[in-house]
């Protein structure tokens, strides 16, 4: 197209082109001398020049696929690392749980907060363990009860169901002295593979303090009232005071009971333990395909997280980008119009 175009105008306006090219247009000597006087510029590298001369467009063609490959690689590495040794170790640690002498499952409850000594706390834990079969279910249920009793606690309730054709399950509600709950949880976690666990700690220090203060107030009131009743009082005042005294005694009795209950609650933790023979998808598989599945899932979730971050950035930055683009195109359009106007005038 350009070649044809060149040939066309050279042919069409042959004489005119020759005449134009023959016009004397050599730069005058003084301009030539002026330019020669510049010499040779210092071309040492400077940061700004590097940025300006950097081939951004071509580099983007390379950088964009490199970034995508890097992200996918990072996702795959993340998936492989997370699906591998760590989870396998947990499975291995619990797979020999049937034996009596077991090493404490290091890491199983390391990450959970322990009860604070010297503070009144309501400590409640829920744990679901998977066991191999129905026989193991019965054995582990008994072992759990033994562990709790050995720790000075008791079994509040046990429900075991082994329906035909369905996975067996045992639900235990255990009360364990708060000072030993951490140790008990570690021992219980060795009875099977930990599938699920929750922990709730509610501080009761304030409740106990308020109850004690109120008890003290009531006791003081009762003592004062009794003192006044020993003296001589008008009949109506005496009657009112006696009624108040009765009310205070009743309140004191209720509050003392509540205080005892709170202290009992703070001294014994509640552990809800569920043992099941149900096989969790993926977690029980030790085969290569299971690991590949986990790796793929982790990699996908990693990519999804990266995508979410990118989307978030895009949403946050898009108004700014649109504004910048609008200013850029606006200025460009204005400059072009200005150029056209300037170059149109003769």
């Amino acid at each position: 197209m350009p070649a044809t175009d060149t040939i066309d105008f050279e042919r069409e306006f042959e004489d005119l082109v020759a005449e134009l090219r023959a016009l004397p247009s050599v730069a005058p000597d003084h301009v030539r001398e002026h330019v020669r006087a510049f010499g040779e510029p210092d071309v040492g590298p400077q940061f700004w020049d590097r940025l300006v001369t950097f081939p951004w467009r071509r580099s983007l063609l390379v950088l964009a696929p490199v970034c995508v490959i890097g992200l996918v690689s990072a996702a795959l590495v993340h998936g492989l690392v997370n699906s591998g040794p760590k989870r396998e170790a947990v499975v291995t640690a619990h797979s020999g749980a049937a034996k009596t002498a077991r090493a404490p499952a290091a890491g199983a409850f390391d990450s959970l907060p322990a009860p604070s000594p010297g503070r009144y706390q309501d400590y409640e834990a829920w744990m679901t363990l998977r066991v191999r079969d129905l026989q193991a279910l019965t054995d582990r249920t008994n072992e759990a009860m033994q562990v709790v009793r050995a720790a000075g606690g008791y079994v509040a309730s046990v429900q075991q169901s082994t329906p035909a054709g369905s996975p067996g399950q045992a639900d235990l509600v255990l009360r364990v002295p708060i000072a030993r709950v951490e140790n008990v949880l570690v021992q219980l976690s060795t009875l099977g593979t930990v599938i699920d666990r929750h922990l709730s700690i509610t501080d009761l220090e304030q409740v106990v303090r308020q109850q004690r203060a109120r008890i003290l107030q009531l006791k003081l009131f009762i003592a004062r009232a009794l003192e006044q009743l020993r003296g001589t009082l008008p009949a109506d005042v005496r009657l009112r005071l006696q009624l108040q005294l009765e009310q205070a005694r009743s309140d004191l009795s209720k509050l003392t009971g509540a205080n005892k209950a709170t202290l009992r609650q703070a001294s014994l933790s509640r552990v809800s333990l569920t043992l099941t023979t149900q096989k969790a998808a993926g977690a029980t598989k030790k085969s290569g395909s299971g690991r590949v599945d986990r790796a793929a899932r982790d990699a996908a979730s990693f990519l999804a997280a990266a995508g979410a971050v990118l989307l978030y950035l895009l949403i946050v930055l898009s108004p700014l980008l649109v504004l910048t683009a609008a200013v850029f195109w606006g200025v460009r359009a204005y400059r072009r119009r200005e150029e056209r106007r300037l170059l149109a005038s003769t």
Binding site: P24, S25, P28, V43, V52, L343
Partner: protein, 176 residues
């Protein structure tokens, strides 16, 4: 004629040898001057702007990347920017003078050429003279000239064709 400068583009790994500034200035001075002469239509202004263009080029020489285009195209772009700055300044000056001293006479201009061709060229717009200079005198190809002008190749061809046609008509009229 062309000395090769040992200093290269600043990115390691993207090293490209390029000619020295003095060699480029020596070989492209006439072309740039010719372009500016056509663009401005004024010999003395073209001389001033040629000097200014090479001053700018001297300062920006570090940024010249031979892979992006020839030195001629790079210099033409600088020359164009310099000329447009000049036109803007002139435009402002003219408006000021029109406002305060309407009777001031225009500065006398030394035309591009002599005779009928010079007169005809003077009647073309700077945009038309510019495209003639780039395509006919500097012999840039269509896409390159279009890039310098910041327009499409088709627009560049149309503008050139129209300019040459007008020029030919004016020349024919002058002969008659």
């Amino acid at each position: 004629m062309r000395a090769v400068n040992a200093v290269t583009t600043s990115w390691p790994g993207l090293r490209v040898d390029r000619p020295s500034f003095s060699a480029v200035a020596e070989s492209e001075l006439d072309a740039v001057h010719r372009y500016l002469l056509f663009l401005t239509g004024n010999r003395s202004v073209a001389e001033d702007l040629t000097g200014e263009t090479f001053e700018k080029a001297f300062r920006l020489w570090r940024r010249f990347d031979p892979r992006r285009g020839t030195p001629r195209v790079w210099l033409c772009r600088i020359a164009r920017t310099t000329a447009l700055d000049y036109f803007r300044a002139e435009d402002r000056r003219r408006k000021r003078e029109e406002r305060y001293a309407r009777d001031l006479p225009n500065a006398e201009e030394a035309p591009v050429g002599t005779g009928a061709l010079g007169a005809a060229l003077a009647l073309l717009s700077p945009a038309e003279r510019e495209v003639v200079a780039l395509r006919v005198l500097l012999e840039l190809d269509g896409p390159t000239a279009a890039r310098v002008l910041g327009i499409s190749t088709t627009a560049c061809s149309t503008r050139l064709s129209r300019a040459l046609k007008r020029l030919e008509e004016m020349m024919a009229d002058a002969r008659d």
